[in-house]
Symmetry: C2
Subunit: 431 residues, 2 copies
């Protein structure tokens, strides 16, 4: 070993302190203020808090030097360097973020709808104004998946993304699995504990996850995708009995968001799906999130943790504030030039699970098999649990890989069959 | 919605192309060359490859313009901007990396020993010479955990790290679990498939994982730790029967690397441990890796994927090359100033599992309980499987939380007991 080189002690390279304004003092905005107050960072000074009816929001633990205001121009015309946007929704967030960038302020946002729908345009504006737009908190809360995908896996060619992106649905489905309760009971419980809102429709129908998937696809697969181009299927059709059949198949049921891009064709969907019990998607419990990236060279890499909640989301916001204060740019996060939205299809080819409830009589499975066979769909197995009445008998057919669309058409044809007590329910099986 | 602002089309902001030299054309170096050749990146041009006996290494698929050499000065004196170091080991890697930095070249390395032992010094040198030293590939191969911890979770205060950092041990232990084979049989299998080297001692005794843990601790917990300060316990004591008892306790057994820092005291160890079957640590199969970071605000965040192998490790190298080509600095990764190594203890307080093999007679458990009780250690449960001979009867005692050191001292005292057929074996239980 040679002697160690004589080196000067490295001076601290911390940048100048930046003034931070928070727009919106709800759960996330308040958590950001808390962490900045209790774990102060020398690079960040909280100077402004904006909210409607701001007097009702004041807290005793915040510094006396903070300006509390309900006038947005007090923020836009202030000396704040960094704006934290935690208002949510498209308007007025879009307008205010745009104005902030034009006024020479960088913006850190947790707003998935804003980024999914206006992210490319705002990224371009940030670039042109020499500012930064960072949105690590917009997907998967405290899990630093966007940074990891964009920079940590920059050396790979990512071809697929799958994930559990909605904690409300995951809470409901894991409760149905573990406690055997109905969808309605699990939803009520989620609402009681604050994991679901009074109107849970955006969670349950897949819109919330579709916005996050659209951001992930743009960042990871480098192709434009708007949330409304993602095929969504509500999780409301999932029944307790589906978990019993899924278990027999070595699986459980999750609301899975996924996308694949082969360089030409983009597939994307948010829907309930059977996933193997030992898979990363199955192992995420309660209101946690997971994202699995599939790369040509690196295989599958998984990121999991707290997908929501004030403090975890605030960690993502503050990590972005620190990056902005250091002048670290993530301009490439949403490639402005070549990421015009392209058409997406939800017509993945996978094995499928189909649950029928029938008024039993001989020959039903033969009829179903004939109809499926006529469309080139092959049956893999038939599963039937005992203990049900013949007048409303549930059974399950699993199918070899087939396209989602042709299967749906076939089941539509079948919907007129006299033996059906209710329409069949189908989920893909993701092996 | 307002009309969209009129914006100029953003010009591509790609930096100038950088010349890349690879030191070492083994599995990782060759994979880096492959990806750069087959998936060319406009920012990176492979210009030099260094290896001993380089003529035996030449490949037909590489560009004719690459200079192949076995003289290190051909690299150090070249126009290469970025040096990829995949030689491994401390020397000559340390000397060559030092010289490269002094010659104004940035360095990307996959060398865990180099970074664990000389990382702070080399980081300081890189800073002073205005170059970059990036080492995302040195821990967990293709899993971008260092970047995620340092930047993605910068807004949190990380207090703990745990992980599966050695794919060889994880392969062996998951095979013992799943196939019920002995340690020796699983090791032989791992060697046959190329998951373990002819001399697996650094994997099995914990030294390999200790180097990676030392890097993680410096990056995540921001405190200095040298690999030899990590308490290591070989996995060789794990027996097939331990998996059966662990299963009864809802657990499995893994080689776990972990560290905790409360601001004053640093705990660190690499050892076989019981982990709950539903935990992130248990769910990592085969030669995969996982790292779980525990933050004050964000809770647990997990990162998992391919911890080794040519292509996944090459993805990490190339991601660092891209960051370096963009001038993105990670100088903060190993804080030079205040991260002088501090003392570390492996004396975690946890519940424990202790396996005895005894020549059975009445009163043994009472004697063990008395000895433990005298040291303030309480028994939680006694487990005994049937079907063993009384002359070599295995049974297991689980203990309420106690310090690892006091337990080891107690078991040392006990080692003279006439009823012991062999020394007792103990593992912590990580709930």
């Amino acid at each position: 070993m040679s002697t160690q080189p004589k080196l000067e002690l490295v001076r601290d390279v911390a940048p100048l302190t930046q003034n931070v304004a928070i727009l919106g003092f709800g759960t996330v905005g308040r958590s950001v203020a808390e962490i900045l107050s209790y774990s102060p960072d020398s690079r960040l000074r909280l100077t402004h808090i904006f909210n409607r009816n701001v007097d009702s929001k004041r807290v005793s633990w915040a510094s006396d030097e903070i300006l509390w205001t309900e006038k947005i121009d007090d923020i836009l015309d202030s000396d704040a360097d960094l704006i934290v946007e935690t208002i949510g929704g498209l308007e007025p967030a879009y307008e205010w973020v745009r104005k902030a960038l034009l006024k020479g302020k960088s913006v850190v946002t947790a707003n998935k709808q804003l980024i999914a729908q206006r992210g490319r345009e705002l990224t371009r504006l940030a670039f042109d104004t020499g500012q930064q737009l960072l949105f690590g908190a917009s997907v998967a809360g405290g899990v630093p998946v966007l940074l990891a995908l964009q920079e940590g896996l920059a050396g790979d060619r990512l071809v697929g993304i799958s994930g559990i992106l909605n904690g409300t649905c995951n809470y409901i489905l894991t409760r149905m699995e573990q406690a055997g309760v109905s969808f309605g009971a699990a939803l009520a419980e989620a609402q009681q504990f604050g994991y679901a809102e009074a109107d849970p429709s955006a969670d349950v129908n897949g819109d919330d996850a579709a916005a996050k998937l659209a951001i992930l696809v743009q960042v990871a697969l480098k192709v434009g995708l708007t949330p409304n181009a993602v095929r969504t299927t509500p999780v409301t059709d999932v029944d307790s009995i589906d978990f019993q059949y899924a278990k027999d198949l070595g699986c459980t049921i999750r609301q899975v968001s996924r996308a694949q891009f082969d360089g030409r064709k983009l597939f994307s969907s948010v829907e309930p799906a059977l996933v193997p019990r030992e898979s990363s998607l199955a192992q995420v419990q309660g209101n946690q999130n997971v994202v699995v990236a599939s790369g040509k060279y690196g295989g599958n890499t998984a990121f999991s943790g707290s997908g929501a909640g004030g403090h975890p989301t605030a960690v993502a916001v503050i990590s972005d504030l620190i990056a902005a204060a250091h002048g670290r740019t993530h301009q490439g996060w949403l490639v402005p030039g070549d990421s015009r939205p392209i058409r997406s299809t939800g017509d993945f080819t996978t094995p499928h699970y189909v649950r029928f409830v029938v008024k039993d009589r001989p020959g039903i499975i033969a009829e179903i098999a004939a109809l499926l066979g006529a469309r080139g769909i092959n049956i893999d197995a038939v599963l039937q649990k005992s203990g049900f009445t013949k007048s409303a008998l549930p059974f399950v057919i699993t199918l070899e890989p087939c396209g989602a669309s042709v299967l749906r058409e076939t089941l539509d044809d079948l919907s007129r069959a006299e033996f059906l007590v209710k329409p069949p329910v189908t989920f893909p099986i993701l092996r």
